[in-house]
Amino acid sequence: MKGKYNCYHCGDFCIDDIVSDGNHFCCNGCKHVYLLLSENGLCNYYQLDNTPGIKVKGKFKGDRFAYLDDESVISKLILFNSSHQINVKFSLPQIHCLSCIYLLEKLHQIESGIIQSRVNFQEKNIFISFNPQLISLRKVVELLSFIGYEPSISMQDAISVKKKNTSKKQIIQIGVAGFCFSNIMMLSFPEYFSRGNLELPELQQTFSWVILLLSIPVFIYSASSIFLSAINGLKQKKINIDIPIALAILITFSRSYFEIITNCGSGYLDSGTGIIFFMLIGRWFQNKSYDVLSFDRKYQSYFPLGVTIKKNGIEQNIPITKLAINDIILIRNNDLIPADSLLMEGDANIDYSFVNGENIPQQKNVGDLLYAGGKQLGTSILLRAIKIPSQSYLTELWNNSIFEKNKEKKDSFIHPWSKYFTLVLLSIAFIASIYWQWTDPSKVLLVLTSVLIIACPCSLLLSATFTFGNMMRIIGKHQLFLKNATVIESLAKINHIVFDKTGTITSQQKTAINYRGIPLSPLENDLIKYTTANSSHVLSRSLNSHFSVLSNMVSPSFLAYCEEGGKGIFAKTAETELRLGNSDFTASDLLNNSLKSSAVHVNINDNYKGYFEIVHPYREGLDEMVSKLKKKYTLHVLSGDNDAEKSTLQQIFGNDTVIYFSVTPQGKLEYIKALQKKGANVLMIGDGLNDAGALMQANVGIAVSENSAQFSPACDAIIDASSLNKLPSILKYTRMSKVNISIGFAVSILYNIIGISLAVQGKISPVVAAILMPVSSISIVLIAMITSKWSEKLLKLSIIKS
């Protein structure tokens, strides 16, 4: 039964069976973590969830976090510093279950220097306070990495630690407005029911004065953001949506205060505060963002904080910002190249898939130029930097002006409406007051203010903010996370869709392996499985995970085993000699480059058997999605990869779709610019850094992510890869937004017509105004909820159908 267990720690299949305390482990890394936990009495970790552990990847290198000893790096990361306590917050994307919380909050039992650790599960971060005299920041990070939770520390995080106090202020503003509004409503009820005449005038006066006092915090504190934005609009000489609202609030409050103080009425403070309360809720709803996701990432967050350099034969770690030209950089397996540099030593096998979308790792020779952003796969290499990180080829893209300015805020289609609305309203008020000037001058002021109060554009705005906010939440349920609600409107206008290939319409994590050649026997099959298990090369890894053990073969003892970097693996057992690797290494007839995908050739006992072709498959449901989208939109495909897949892609997308290969990042940006010049509204769907420019340039940029915690470039929305096939339905849903808002509009205009027609006749009684206004706001909020709910049902239907 040997070799048939799953690892007690991470749940992986055990190839080398390592036993400790009667539990089986897949590797020594997992065993060591288990031992550390059991030593400290933390075995509860394994009871809360089955195999909760995170597989310990590769060897734990002693000096990887040496840059955390650098004072300037430390000061950027920590939140609070005293001689006895340092507070720090890390984001740990690996947090996934209850066991994680358990273990991470018990860190103080493992290291006595840690005072306290607190996990925020939703935001996937940990707050740690430790005593710097007992343990260093580097040791804390190393401990976290050892138990499988390596913090993601990047330049951008280090630069901007503080945020988020604004949302707290917003919530308090809403709370204050809600408190005052509901109390004012309570005190206004007697007046509603007595038709404006309370039997006890004293009581009415007291009520009015209490209402006045209650309204002050709303006017001064809660509404301040509306006034500020209106003032800013005036300063820039633009009529923004907040100006008419601020005007209406100002008039409502001043007239109410005047009435209460002169004791000639009870004012409209109930509806005034109510409108502010609903407006604030609507805005909060609309601006509610997904805190875990980051939409504005730049290249800094992709690069590591530290880099190992070799100076006078000594390895030392420095912060990436201190990297200078001509420094010798040491890059280990899976490290990123931080700056454009020349290869000095070692077998470079660079994976640029994230940078330019190319599928196959590139083999480089000594003296070749390596661009920043590539990932080394295999053994360590030495490089000489020829540019500093911020001026490298990849990062130059960010110097494009498109990243400088924020995307032009296109006017929402409510804006022109509200502009006309304000104009019409002002002219009605003007004409009405001229009319009353002729007939009854005493009523002029009353008519003028009541027209302005009654017909506030707030309800128009409310319907839009609530509809968009609600739709954004519903779209989020389907794993398309929008940066803000205005993206919905932009999405509804799209008519061209541009796809990236690698990582967008192909899956990055899954690999499909096709074998071509002479069939392998089960024994040979198993031998390959066991041979590849010992290698950390990407291709070996994917081959290894592809196979399952067919025979009853036990892990063989190798007489000889050697891995030649960049060439392949040679393994020898008592019966067989196995060569896995490139075509030269395995004496294949095929030329290495004649195949356009990654291939591993097999040679057993000097007989060439065939090769494994490793491809990234297209995402499930792609055909169907494309055929649906084609009915409505013009599609384009821009790939950074070579044209190996041309015929397959053409088959999926049809002959009328433009497909370009080997497009540079800049080329993608230019292509979209050219489309936009022809008047197209472009939606770009991409994933990597190579799409970053295009995502910014497009009217809407959606980044595809297989794991929302993972890096995705700056964009307007992030879609979970598994939801990509829902895109046609979601786009259809966004197009319904216009209908939904129009319904809300129609109702609020109806209210306005009734209100204004009463107001111009001077017939508006306080009771009618007091009832009409809150009712109109509330009913519009309700309509927004109902219409978006109704269209959600249609969305669900169309998803089920597909």
Binding site: I101, F121, Q122, E123, K168, I172, N183, L200
Partner: protein, 66 residues
């Protein structure tokens, strides 16, 4: 009717105390994480757990003896 004035004052004072409680809870970050505390409370403290277990067995034994 004068009771109404008193009630008005009392009700507003109570309402204001709730508002203050709300502001306090927001500013001290009680809404920052709505999930983890609910899980945290369920974890038993391992070191105390042992002694508790001992205690409960002792209690059981003594109850048996009785």
């Amino acid at each position: 009717m004068s009771a109404l004035f008193l009630l008005l004052g009392v009700s507003i004072i109570i309402a204001i105390s709730f508002l203050i409680a709300f502001i306090w809870s927001v500013t001290t970050g009680q809404y920052d994480d709505e999930f983890t505390p609910s899980v945290r409370i369920l974890f038993e403290d391992d070191r105390n757990k042992k002694s508790k277990n001992d205690q409960s067995t002792i209690e059981k034994k003594s109850s048996h003896a009785n």
